[in-house]
Amino acid sequence: MVRLPYVTALTTLFSYGLLFAFGQLRDFFRRILDARKPSNLKGYAPICLGLEDFYTRRLYLRIQDCFNRPIASAPDAWFDVVERNSNDCNKTLHRTSKTTKCLNLGSYNYLGFAAADEYCTPRVIESLKQYSASTCSVRVDGGNTKLHTELEELVARFIGKPAAILFGMGYVTNSAIIPTLIGKGGLIISDSLNHNSIVNGARGSGATVRVFQHNNPAHLEDVLREQIAGGQPRTHRPWKKIIVIVEGIYSMEGELCKLPEIISVCKKYKAYTYLDEAHSIGAIGKTGRGVCELLGVDPADIDIMMGTFTKSFGSCGGYIAASKEIIHHLKHTCPAHIYATSMSPPAVQQVISAIKVILGEDGSNRGAKKLAQIRENSNFFRSELQKMGFEVLGDNDSPVMPIMLYNPAKIPAFSRECLRQNVAVVTVAFPATPLLLARARICISASHSREDLIKGLEVISKVGDLVGIKYFPVEQEKAMAVEKLKIQ
C-alpha cells in the first residue's frame, strides 16, 4: 500500500505520456528516414517484433548511465565506481580509467561479509589453495567435496530443518526446484510481488499458477477456497497438490511477509508452503535465523525453506532446507544438482565461515554484534528518512528501504546527483516495479558506521530537496510546536 499525493499521480502519468509520445515521434521519423536504406535482414525474421523493444530503445537507453555501473573494488561500505562517459546521449557508454570512491548504499551486504573479513578470508584462501577455484565437475560425479557436505549439514542446523541441498546460483535454485516439486495438474499460488525466479520456475513447471494480492492472507484464503472448490481447469478434477509461495522480505518493498497468518491459512486447507528467504536469512531475527525467528514461526511448519548465500553471507549460490525425504527426492531429480557444476569450494568455505561467525562458533561475539549493528543501522536510517519527509517503504527491522520517486524524470536526477556527491544508490524503474512506482532502493549493511549513515542521510536530504521527493510534511514542525507549547 503506497500513499502518494494526487498531484504526483497526475504528473507521473503525464510524464510517462510525454515520454511515450516523444518516443513514438522519434520512431516515426526514424522509419521515414530509414525507408530508403536496404534492410540487412536478407529474408530472415527480425529478432524483435515491431513494438517489443520500444521501452528499451526510447526510455531505458536515455537513462542507461544510472544502471549497470561497473565497480572496481569489493562492495564494502565504501567502494570505487568506474566513471563512464557517452558521446551520443547514452546510447553507448565508454568506461574511463578513473574511479570515484563512493558510499555504498546499494549492495546486499547485510552483515558486512562482502569485503575481507578477519575470520573468513584466511580460511577461504586456504581452501582455494587446497581445493582450487572450481571442482570442474557435477555434484554427483566428482564435485562433491568435504566442504559441500559440511555446508549442507551446517545450513540444515542453522535453519532448523532436518536436511539441506546446495546450488551454485540463487536464481537457479528457484527456477529449477519448483518444476521438480510440482507439475501439470498441480496448483501454485504465489504472491503478486514474487521475484522473477519464482515466476520463471512456476511457468516452467507446467502447473496452473494463480496470484493472490500481496501480503493479504484473507485474499489467499479466498483464492484457495475458489480453486479447491473448482478443481483443475476444464476437467474439475481435484488438484494433485497445491503449493503456496511467499517471500520473507520482498526486495522491492522491504516488507516482511505476514507469515503466521499465511501459514495458518495454508494448514487449514492442507496446502504446502514454500518460503523464499533470499533477503531475510542472516539479516533479521535475534540470531540471524531469518523471518521465522523474527515472527515466531516454527520452521517445522513450513514445508520448504529456500534461501541464497549472496546477500548476508557474502558468497554465491542458494540452498533448500526441508525434510529428509524431500531433500532425498531433490537430490535424485533436480537437474540443477545432477547436471550443473557444483559450487566453487572457496565460495562454500566463505559461507561455512560466515555461518560460524553468525552462530558465534568462531569463538567471538562478532556475529551477535553484526546482527545488532544492522538492526540498529536500519532502524536509525529509516526513522531519520521518515522524519525528513521521504516516503520510505518497508517494515521496522528490515534492512531494505525503498524511497519512492514516482516521476520518471526523478530517477536519473536522483541517481546522478547522488553519484556526483559520492553516494551510490540503486534506482529501480519499470518493469521491475509497477509503472508509476519508481523508487530508489537503499540496502543498509552492518559495516556502515554511524558517520557513514549520517553522511548518506545528509546527501540524500540535499538531493531530495533538489529533486523534490519529500512528499510528506517534515515532522520537525510538529516537534517544534510541541516544544513551544511546553515552554509556554
Binding site: A9, F14, E52, S192, F212, Q213, P431, P434, L436
Partner: protein, 162 residues
C-alpha cells in the same frame, strides 16, 4: 495533510494484474489525467490556431480518434520485452485491459469519452456538414471497436497476425 480532515493523499493498493502493459491503468488519477489531457489539448489548439471553439473540439476529437484507435485497437502486444512468453502478442491493448473482462468500470469510462467529445464537438459546430460527418465516423468506429462483441474479432482479417 489537508485542512479540516480532508487529505490530499490517495492510497494505492497495487492491483493484482500480472500484465504490466495494462496494470498502470488501475491506479488512481488515470481518468483525471486523461480528461485533463483532452482539455489542455483543446486549449492548445485554440491558442495556436485561433479558430472557433467548435472547430477546436472537432480537431481534438479527430486527433483523439487517430491516436486512441492506433494505440488501443491497432497495436498489438506489449511495448517492452515482457517475460510473459508472448501471450499478449495477438491482443490489442483494449483486449488486454482488466484481464479481458468486459464491461468493467475502466472500459465503460473509455467508451463514454469519445461519445462526450462527439456531443461537444457537434453541438458547438451547430451540426454543420463536413465536421459532422467526420465526427460521426470517428465516434462510430471508436464505440463499435469497444463493444464486448468485438473482443478478439478481426474484420476481413485486417490486423489479424503479428
Amino acid at each position: 495533510m489537508g485542512r479540516r480532515g480532508t487529505s490530499y493523499y490517495v492510497e494505492a493498493a497495487p492491483p493484482v494484474d500480472v500484465n504490466k502493459n495494462t496494470e498502470w491503468f488501475m491506479y488512481p488519477g488515470v481518468w483525471t489525467t486523461y480528461i485533463l489531457l483532452l482539455f489542455f489539448a483543446w486549449l492548445l489548439v485554440l491558442s495556436v490556431s485561433g479558430c472557433s471553439p467548435g472547430a477546436a473540439w472537432t480537431v481534438v476529437n479527430l486527433a483523439h480518434f487517430a491516436i486512441t484507435y492506433h494505440f488501443f485497437h491497432w497495436k498489438k502486444g506489449t511495448p517492452f520485452a515482457a517475460d510473459d512468453q508472448g501471450i499478449y502478442n495477438r491482443l490489442t491493448w483494449w483486449e488486454q485491459i482488466d484481464n479481458g473482462q468486459q464491461l468493467t468500470r475502466n472500459r465503460k469510462f473509455l467508451t463514454v469519452v469519445p461519445v462526450v467529445l462527439y456531443l461537444m464537438a457537434s453541438h458547438l459546430t451547430d451540426y454543420e456538414q463536413p465536421m459532422l460527418f467526420l465526427n460521426t465516423v470517428a465516434v462510430l468506429v471508436l464505440v463499435v471497436a469497444k463493444l464486448p462483441n468485438m473482443h478478439k474479432v478481426r474484420i476481413f482479417g485486417i490486423n489479424a497476425d503479428i
